[in-house]
């Protein structure tokens, strides 16, 4: 389940941010790679929900509970992306408004 990745997202992101003045160590993904990877995961969760919904609607072997869990996971993932986007924007604005 993608939502459990939050802990690793945070630690990974913070680690990358604090060491971002140096060049990224070899083998470690850059922050943008990392972000793209997580967005891919969100997309996968959403695709799974789409497939289950399609299967349920067309009489496939999907139970209502499976569908509902997948839909909630997808919704949570989208909420997560939306929140991350707004927090990143707000962090950027905080930095830009700093008096140097």
């Amino acid at each position: 389940m993608a939502i459990q990745g939050v802990q690793s997202v945070l630690s990974g992101a913070l680690g990358q941010m604090t060491s971002s003045t140096q060049a990224p160590a070899s083998g470690q993904p850059s922050f943008s790679d990392f972000l793209a990877q997580e967005l891919d995961k969100v997309n996968q969760v959403s695709d799974t929900a789409d497939q289950l919904a399609q299967s349920y609607a067309t009489g496939g072997s999907v139970t209502a509970s499976q569908l509902m869990v997948a839909e909630q996971q997808a919704s949570l993932a989208v909420d997560m992306v939306s929140q991350v986007a707004s927090r990143v924007t707000s962090a950027y604005q905080t930095v830009m408004n700093m008096q140097v």
Binding site: Q51, A53, Q54, Y56, T58, G59, M68, S75, V78, D79
Partner: protein, 129 residues
Amino acid sequence: MQVLQMSLDAATLRQQVYANNIANAETPNYKRQDVAFETYFQQALNSAPQAQMGETHIPLSTSGSTLNNLPNVQPTVYTDTSSTVDNDGNNVDLSSEMVDVAENQVKYEVLAQDLSTRFQRLTTAIQGG
């Protein structure tokens, strides 16, 4: 989304057809009706694009049918002649109609809930939480 909406339409139609069946449970020579929708999809998905399917043949696009390219299937009402007929020529079994109605209702509610979740998700994506 499209499929979900079509499926909701099919569930609505099915509810009307079942209600009609129950209303005509005592009508002499009445044959019960049903709605074919899911079976069309399953047949289309399981068979080769050019396979002939007799009465229930669906014209498929030449590119074949994948999950992303679903055939445009409309729910169709058909008369069920397979079930047992009473003395008065009526083949409606009231309890089995009731079971079908309940099943259809559950499906309708799940689909409606699912669509509502999806619309909510789109709202979140548009408004940014």
